[in-house]
Symmetry: C2
Subunit: 387 residues, 2 copies
């Protein structure tokens, strides 16, 4: 399939809106000049509502993992006790970074596809009163399950001084989050998911409590030292050369999000989730995540009557539909459809109908059109105020 | 609806493939230099198979109507008798141009939505032995009906010396045509339909017989004088400044068409027509054109249970789906969906499902999903060799 025809529905990278593509091919400007200062000062306040904070959102020129690492190296010292929730590949990555930096990890392993219970975190906090930080993934991209990070943050702060550090890579921009209200201390994300950009920017939002830890933290760090980013941001600068074309793109992304309205952006993602899940039910396709934990940005399906990888192969070869497979022990067990960022109900209608055709080719039994009708029902239900 | 979200399914303009967009933003080059000569010499032979000819295909920097006018002014003189087939707005335009240039018109009016009978053309030719040219539209964009231009050309040449001049604006690139084999004398088109470009280029393919008329034709003409284009083409030039960015784009379009294979391009259009028509049948939507005359590039629907314009309005406002309405006396009576150029079965699946949702909003009765299932059936039928 020619790349011109591809339909990108992986849970990151995601498609880039044409106006963002155009914004990114503007001529380069000096990154120490007035124009870049204006660009940075334009972007900074507009990121805050997306992260649900009135505090600073630092922009790093690096990909999402660097933001996870920045969260670890800026807030902890070797030997510190931390709690890490692991319910998929990205929780596991947080744990690996913590191991690399010689932390003492109290790991909460949750069945992949499920959300952690708030009580399980509470238990660890109470059992280990010296815990310095709790690391938890908001949307676990590898499964499509969301952890109740706001409730976890509130509970942790009731019981301890630990920081709550959240990986929002595949949630930010696609789902509401009240960082300040819930007391989340670090909320990190990347550019290539619901933020509708290529990879290459990482975001770190920081609470006041976190700053007091970060400022006093003696651990050596350089490129990821958040103090440098904060100091530069206050001067309308970046500490190191920024990924300028991505910043041009980010400005246009903010225009698009504000033009649509942030609440409407979140609602659009919610509707896409409902449509996708309704279609799967209509097609007798087992959903991997419960309704309560399901992310508005990615849906995982665990087929019983055909191979997940066969679906992905046929959908890709015949329709250019790009989905993701399972990771680690879920490889071959599930496939994942991303519906975030530059994606909307019309895209869901399209991939649901493609899904139906591929299921027909694979011999899965269902009433043709029933997934489509179910997705339409969910759409009409969600938008019934238009009637 | 933000323009970023639009789904362009008018029968021209049509969406531009991203690689063509990128090709068009190359730096400008001097149009009298070696690089432009190489560009023109690269393009010229590659256009021929698309027009079904081994002769020259001239490229004018102007839109499709200029090619219709070029056909008229280069082949006729005031007072010449011509036959014009009129079965829609574009046949009518051919007639208007002929009137403007003071030709004596034998007009064959055909019910809009129908194809002309070859016998009706034969009758006019026999009744008027001095006819110099027969003008006929290949795909009548305003209705979605195709005239049997190859059979008409063969019949006219059996009976007379008249040239056969065909408007292929909304057919070329989307449907096979054997210009040389059928004896079509002028075959003209534009860039903004199945050729996947913005408007701004017009194409004129010319037979040897037509050249002998054109070369001796005394009628004054300048920008549209095909002799200038032929002379320049032979020297790897254009007579006037060419629309350079569109030529860059055209080169990429030719790469795409050759990469897919011209036969496969035509087959893709045929499959889109079959899917679209099957969906309409499944949804109890009356098709405006018979199976025999239906174009692979555009489908017209004449709704009975709701207003055509209501459909267009809701589809546009809610999904950004751009369709066309009826023209002249068909205004408000039909709507037209374009499926040509940078469009493929996955796009049909998408607009069929959108169509279903809008029909549900408009209270049209049908089994939800039935149009989708019918389109899928047509797709699977057309591609059954993959099974």
């Amino acid at each position: 399939m020619n790349r011109e025809w591809e339909l990108l529905h992986t849970p990151g990278p995601t498609p880039i809106p044409p106006s963002v593509e155009r914004a990114m091919i503007q001529p380069m400007i000096g990154h120490r000049g007035q124009k870049c200062k204006e660009l940075l000062e334009n972007i900074a306040p507009r990121l805050k509502p997306i992260f649900g904070t009135s505090g600073d959102v630092l922009v790093l020129s690096s990909s999402g993992t660097s933001a996870l690492e920045a969260a670890v190296v800026n807030t902890t010292s070797p030997g510190d006790e931390v709690v890490v929730v692991v319910a998929g590949a990205f929780g596991d990555r947080f744990a690996k970074i913590c191991e690399t930096y010689e932390l003492k990890i109290h790991r909460i392993d949750v069945e992949w596809g499920s959300a952690v219970e708030v009580a399980a975190v509470e238990e660890q906090i109470q059992a280990h009163p010296n815990v310095k930080a709790v690391f938890v993934t908001h949307c676990e991209t590898s499964t499509g399950a969301m952890h109740p990070v706001e409730q976890i943050a509130q509970k942790v702060h009731q019981d301890s001084e630990a920081l709550v550090i959240v990986d929002g890579v595949s949630s930010i921009g696609g789902t509401p989050i009240d960082m300040d209200g819930a007391g989340i201390d670090l909320l990190v994300s990347g550019s290539q998911k619901a933020m509708m950009l290529p990879a290459g920017l990482a975001f770190v939002a920081v609470s006041d409590q976190a700053w007091s830890i970060i400022n006093d933290n003696p651990r050596p760090r350089f490129y990821l030292d958040l103090r440098s980013f904060k100091k530069s941001l206050d001067a309308g600068q970046t500490p190191f050369t920024p990924a300028l074309s991505l910043l041009f793109g980010l400005q246009e992304v903010l225009d698009l999000i504000e033009g649509e309205g942030l609440e409407q952006v979140h609602e659009r993602h919610r509707v896409m989730r409902e449509m996708t899940r309704a279609a799967c039910r209509g097609l007798n396709l087992p959903l991997f995540v419960s309704d309560e934990a399901a992310s508005p940005t990615v849906t995982s399906i665990r087929p019983q009557t055909f191979e997940a990888e066969s679906f992905r192969k046929v959908a890709n070869q015949e329709f250019g539909l790009m989905t993701a497979g399972g990771q680690k022990h879920l490889k071959g067990e599930i496939f994942r459809i991303g519906h975030m960022g530059y994606s909307r109900p019309a895209n869901v209608l399209q991939y649901v109908s493609i899904l139906e055709i591929v299921l027909r080719r694979l011999g899965h039994e269902f009433e043709p059109g029933s997934g489509t009708a179910a997705a339409q029902d969910a759409y009409l239900q969600a938008t019934k105020e238009l009637d």
